[in-house]
């Protein structure tokens, strides 16, 4: 229990700080001063102190349950990832449920912006899931999906990024996809205000932001664990900072894509990653 709480606190804190860092780097690249790095932390905490109001048009109690479910899903992710080092397949399932919640948080409020975000979430899920499915290449290489066994495999055979580099590179595309203000973040494009978060206020918004922080930490944790082998705590932190900075630079200099272009780019990457890696393994 203590391990779960500690990991949860680390994930929530690191996730929010890394998102703050990403915004800061993006701002500097774009010649702006940008917000302080801890701004996202303060922003998240602020919503827990604000009054919570509910739209009259919302689908109740679905609207409330869906935001709380997102938290529960990622807490399960923490338990199955850093705490117990269970199956990657289960984390894949958690990611699928995250996409479902993202989709329905938008549609349950009755807002047209949320609705558009919901339709785009369906678009993006159809490509993001195959991208996440790149992890099957890891299974074909290591013959296991259990995270602790994958770590052991890498401690003997070296990091997987060297043996299945294409899968590693394409999984990086998924990290870009899930980062804030990325070229693939069609569900939260500024043309639809805040996308699926537009009609969530107070604690509801706090839940969503808290979950986003954990999900960002978890994705980075999975990437580093699966492709870079057994790492110390310091190496994890350094790795997360480096990846967040690289992604911030990419996001700062790239415009958001049209939903169709975004999906086709991602699905192409997934196709190249999965089939390219399998062909390379056969050769």
């Amino acid at each position: 229990m203590a391990s779960i709480l500690i990991n949860l606190l680390i994930a929530a804190f690191m996730g929010t700080v890394l998102i703050g860092l990403q915004r800061k780097v993006m701002a500097r690249v774009q010649m702006r001063p940008g917000p302080p790095i801890i701004q996202y932390v303060l922003h998240t905490l602020k919503f827990y102190l604000k009054e919570t109001s509910f739209p009259k048009t919302a689908a109740m109690p679905f609207y409330i349950a869906i935001a709380s479910t997102l938290c529960a899903i990622w807490v399960t992710g923490i338990i199955m990832g850093p705490v117990t080092q269970g199956s990657l397949l289960l984390i894949f399932g958690i990611y699928a449920m995250h996409k479902i919640v993202e989709h329905n948080a938008g549609s349950s409020s009755g807002s047209p912006y949320g609705k558009l975000s919901c339709v785009r979430a369906v678009f993006s899920a159809s490509a993001e899931l195959p991208l996440f499915a790149l992890l099957i290449v890891v299974y074909l290489q290591t013959h296991t999906m259990i995270i602790s066994d994958i770590i052991t495999y890498q401690s003997i055979n070296g990091p997987l990024i060297f043996s299945i580099p294409l899968a590693g590179i394409m999984f990086f595309v998924l990290l870009i996809t899930k980062s804030h203000y990325s070229l693939f973040s069609i569900t939260k494009g500024k043309d639809i205000i805040s996308g699926y978060e537009t009609e969530h206020f107070g604690v509801m918004r706090g839940y969503l932001m808290f979950s986003e922080s954990i999900s960002w930490y978890m994705l980075l944790w999975i990437y580093l664990t699966v492709f870079f082998g057994p790492l110390s705590l310091i190496s994890y932190f350094m790795g997360m900072i480096v990846i967040s900075v690289i992604i911030a630079i990419i996001n700062a200099i790239s415009p958001i894509l049209n939903p169709n272009h975004s999906v086709m780019f991602q699905i192409t990457c997934a196709f190249i990653g999965i089939f390219g890696s399998i062909i390379l393994m056969i050769i």
Binding site: M60, Y63, F92, M97, L129, I267
Partner: protein, 224 residues
Amino acid sequence: MDIAALSGEIFGFIPLGDIMLYITPFSLFMFAGALIFTFLIAISKTETQVEAEFGSLEDNRISIDLKEFKIRRFLAIICGLATSGAMITGDLFNFTLFVTLIGILNIGIVSAVKIIDVLDSAFQYGLIAMISSMPLFSGAALILGATGTLSILNLAQIQPNPMVYFGSALILIGLLGESGVAPFYATKAEMFRTPGSPFILIIHLSSLLIITRAIEILLIINTF
């Protein structure tokens, strides 16, 4: 192959005649997740879509009448139960059957809506889903012919042959069409413009969970 290396430690088995269900952390999580969302759908009201009217200061409100609400909720609950079944089943034929049932229910949930664009989209998705059911069942039939069993636990113990690979490829094609993954997403996404958030959740939920479970099943069948 060792199922525990893929889905986690096996907690136990539930024998149902010649079909043996196996419980792993993965199947348990997916099964419980599908049931929780189904319960949420059963107890929730629908949202009212509000949009500004063009050329006036009025709002355009779109809501669902009671008759439509009842039939869509019924179909959504059945779809949720079918999804739960697909998450826990230990039989390949049952899995394909659940997937096909989900495809039909997805069309049903949307077909009660009186919006032409949404109905067009449902019709197009329906065509893809119907066409996809053929490779889906053909794949399962080929695997049965090649191995003599459709039990996933038994298939895990059998060395795959080229016919199993071909059957799996057919199942994969069928699943892509049924679940509306890219490049078939265009037929399905427009269906989500309809009001009735809790009901359209189940369309999305069933598609994504089916893909996730399919990855587990296909890896079990095709690796030894």
